[in-house]
Symmetry: C2
């Protein structure tokens, strides 16, 4: 008998023929919805968002005030050309093909600090999507300084290998001294105009140092910067011991770049955040490891002890101040006042916490009343690392937390989100924001972050409740005061009659009772007399607006601002009035109306006579 | 003057030093929550799920009945060892390192057919997570046939390069003829026992051909197969023209593997699903392209026309029958009856539709009453390609659709999900299920799929409403009948007294009025007389159970089944009774109780006398 011959074609052999490596470009081409390219409508916004993120990050790297130009131009056959141009530091010609033509390539993935881009995926995904839907390569122009020429590339991606496909590369003239321009042609539907406008408006709220110009086929919209301070570039930090997994520690100890015969003690101090000589000593003792031992000689068991010691020993949290760049309470508050003009606005910034070794700062703001929509649910603005999150609100932990809070405690009814003229803004700044997908639309439910959002929103809720209580009290006392005040003129008239004296001006008395700012415009002897008295209990900064066909520039008090248009004058006086202080002015003429800005409607009484 | 020397260190030069390529393993190590490794609790379930998916897919490839062994074993230091072993076709030794030690490697990504795995990420992500948290490599044993030795590998992943790290490789003995075993050691918390049990139970509902044995540190739970039919392996199809983007068409036309000088006409027929000679003619005419032209000579403009023609010409949908493997209405219904024992169960399978060129079949089932929880929201079971989806219910379009339906129309109140003893099961089968992230927990909101889910759930809702109406009517008529029946014995007694005759048996009359099945066990003359009458308006298939210490095997009618244990007899007669038909039997003895199974409690009356 001959020995049985093994079959060379077991089922596994057949199956093996179908096994192959999948390039990340193929993967994301097929699963492009993971990157925010799930519909022709969304693809325009995603493309712009990725390009703007890169532009802002690049300017921040060199602390330049960003000046960004965006254009959307309709082409035949359902195609659109998107242009995004910045005044950033530019990209070296040798790197351009990789930055735009290779998925998973970038400078920020390996650094521990806050940045908008953190994956090296976004903009090359846009190039991939453009190539897939329009068949056309993307044009990149970039220049690094006045002394160097600009470079122009036409680029695609070899999908099967995830390597750049350089269609052409030329040096050229460019009128910018430095910056980068991307021109991308894709199949799309531009039906999300409102969302784009919102995205840019919100971006400018959290990036007040940025000017954005949008060109919609010839219609220009400019988002002017409101701050001339460039954002300070967040600095990279070393990994924090508390977030370092055993496998990572293993790799760090085996790095080829370590100095020869580095001791465990030196390794700890050199490679981690927040470990000094004393802490390193403690860690080695806790782990039962000789601190002078060569770190490369540690076996798995020794590394396991070292890892346990790194988690057990108390180590201060990482320096959030240097590696994060929160927007700050004041800038957020100014931003929402400017954008939404609410009656009440308050912003908070929490102190930094740490999750899995990553520092996180949560900021939030609340606005109420004013121009905010009275009907329906609160407006929720979500941000991560200074980028507005425009999609998947329902999947985001920010929404989850706000829905879970009982808003009746703070005087509002709710259906999921609270109801009424309410704006909520939450910003999460971290060296590693845990998004639920590569499209970075929603933040995952990390317990530490969830707790921070809960605490800060509750803080804002308490302030809202105080405001609403104050407002309600004010309304009550106003009603009472009005009842009294309605009697005063009658009493004054009777008393005057009895005493045979002229009827006195009772309005200051009314003002005092009602604790209001009283503003009057009175015509007398061919002149108009303006007067403002602050009968409230606090100092006020107010603006007196006067509109008249009389020449207001001849006023006895020089206006802060005066303008004439078609025979109609507008004058503005900016005043600081202490409690009890008054102000007056007059001008020749017979007419005019006044208005006071800077105080709540409930706080002022305006009288024309 | 010498010319100004260009600076070699513009900011861009400094930034360029930080640019680098990111390996997909590094990316997913940092963003492991995208893969379902977001917490120590979840990582055990994700690991088992990925291994079981692979085992089932492998068995399906060769149409074997799967036999899967899973073990979870607690080790010191917060570590767990997970073992998953299958009887599949095995993996060639030369491929093992890549299948388990390289992310994005697999056989199913490039094929267009239904499978559980579609990415080539899952199991290597588990190896990566194990290495990161325990520092330990993973053991793989695999054998392809009785004629070949088994191979054992200890494997990790070189994170920086995403290449396999082969710690050891040996040939060895193994008692299995073919199959694969993975032993993976990771840091974890095993607090999700209930969810694991649910995951396995639900897996076995949608994979009735599978036996799963779970060993929890010595405690064994077996999920026995309920079908001995292996699942027919879905066949790969070619891409469908309607889902093919321009960029993809460009690549297909430029493939090196095409025959030399292939005509456009031949290319269309050879490369696409559902294009025959006639359709290919039409497409060429619509595109204005000579059908005999060499396909590689088409420029972007010609390809754009061809692409437009491919979308414009009517082409039949892809063959869902061959490439998909729906569970079928009957198997789903049996599955939920077995698992949840509801009073009412109905299942539906929709006919296939196409989104972006991918065929999709949606199946759903509804169960009501019985053992289902009366309080709270409906139980929702979501499945995709025969895999239970255990996380992120809120982010899934299935949940979205069910929440959006007005359940009051179907007789239920709702709070998001409908309320009451309700079970809803939805299964989405597709060649490309659009998940919201790599962890494959939730299905994205694709409009075509959303519509299919809405339609099928509404169909089920209508059936539920009919059932609830029937039940309500039945209850009403029962109440009426009971009122009448309570008088009949009194009348019979009075009449018998008057006529001086014995009191007749009135129960058949009651049965007729109440439209019930009447079952009686009566002792007479040392024998027990069993009788069953079907007074309902339909034919019934019922089982008569009789329990007695008398010898039931001596019954006048031979039982379908008869058993004795400790002197107690159980006999079962399976009967088919037309409306109005009766059945009887007798046995020597003096005792026994009967029960009827196969009809609702409301439909039967059981009398012992």
């Amino acid at each position: 008998m001959t020995p049985e011959k093994p079959p060379t074609h077991s089922p596994a052999h057949r199956l093996a023929r179908e096994q192959r490596s999948i390039s990340i470009a193929e993967f994301f081409e097929k699963n492009r919805h993971l990157l925010g390219f799930d519909s022709p409508t969304r693809s325009i916004i995603t493309t712009i968002k990725e390009a703007v993120d890169n532009a802002l990050d690049a300017c921040e790297e060199v602390e330049i005030l960003p000046d960004i130009f965006i254009s959307i131009h309709k082409l035949p056959d359902g195609l659109y050309r998107i242009i995004v141009e910045d005044n950033g530091p530019g990209i070296l010609a040798s790197h351009i093909p990789f930055v735009f033509g290779k998925i998973l390539y970038g400078s920020r993935f390996h650094q521990i600090r806050q940045s908008r881009g953190q994956q090296g995926i976004g903009i090359s995904a846009a190039v991939l999507y453009a190539q897939l839907t329009s068949g056309q390569p993307t044009r990149i122009i970039s220049r690094c300084s006045y002394h160097e020429p600009a470079h122009e590339f036409m680029l695609g991606i070899h999908t099967e290998t995830n390597e750049p496909d350089i269609v052409s590369h030329t040096e050229r003239e460019w009128d910018r001294a430095h910056g980068t321009r991307i021109e991308i042609t894709l199949k799309a539907t531009f039906s999300a105009r409102k969302r784009l406008i919102e995205y840019l408006a919100y971006s400018s709220v959290v990036n007040p140092h940025t000017r954005i110009t949008l060109d919609l086929d010839g219609e220009y919209i400019v988002y002017e910067r409101t701050s001339n301070e460039p954002i300070k570039k967040p600095e990279s930090i070393k990994p924090h011991p508390h977030g370092t997994e055993l496998g990572r520690l293993q790799r760090m100890a085996a790095q080829k770049s370590l100095p020869k015969q580095m001791s465990v003690h030196a390794f700890l101090i050199d490679q981690f955040s927040k470990i000094g000589t004393k802490t390193a000593d403690e860690i080695c003792i806790h782990a039962g490891i000789d601190k002078d031992q060569d770190v490369t000689s540690l076996d798995l068991s020794a590394l396991t002890s070292l890892h346990a010691a790194l988690q057990a020993i108390k180590i201060p949290p990482p320096n959030a101040q240097t590696c994060l760049s929160p927007i700050t309470e004041e800038q957020i508050r100014q931003g929402i006042l400017k954008e939404f003009n609410p009656d009440f606005a308050v912003a908070k910034t929490r102190t930094a916490i740490v999750y899995a070794g990553h520092p996180v700062v949560v900021e939030a703001a609340l606005g109420y009343g004013g121009s905010l929509e009275t009907e329906g649910q609160a407006k929720l603005l979500r941000f991560a690392n200074r980028v507005p999150l425009m999609y998947q609100q329902g999947a985001c932990i920010i929404t989850g937390v706000i829905n879970a809070i009982n808003w009746r405690n703070y005087g509002l009814s709710q259906q999921g989100l609270p109801l009424g003229p309410l704006l909520l803004l939450v910003h999460i700044a971290s060296t590693n924001v845990p998004f639920t997908s590569e499209s970075k639309d929603a933040v995952a439910a990390v317990p530490e972050i969830e707790r921070e959002i809960t605490l800060i929103v509750q803080e804002l809720g308490r302030e809202l409740k105080q405001f609403l209580n104050r407002r309600d009290k004010m309304r009550q006392s106003e009603e009472r005061a009005q009842a009294i005040c309605s009697l005063i003129p009658d009493i004054a008239e009777k008393v005057a009659e009895t005493l045979e004296r002229p009827v006195p001006d009772t309005s200051p008395i009314e003002g005092r009772i009602m604790k209001r700012l009283i503003a009057k415009a009175q015509m007398r002897d061919g002149r108009v007399h303006l007067s403002v008295y602050n009968y409230t209990s606090t100092a006020l900064d107010v603006s007196v607006y006067c509109f008249s066909s009389d020449d207001l520039s001849q006023s006895s008090k020089k206006p802060t601002y005066c303008d004439e248009s078609g025979g109609e004058y507008t004058a503005v006086w900016n005043l600081h009035l202490e409690s009890g202080e008054g102000w007056n002015a007059e001008y020749p003429g017979t007419g005019g109306t006044i208005d006071i800005r800077g105080v709540l409607d409930e706080q002022k009484v305006v009288i024309h006579s």
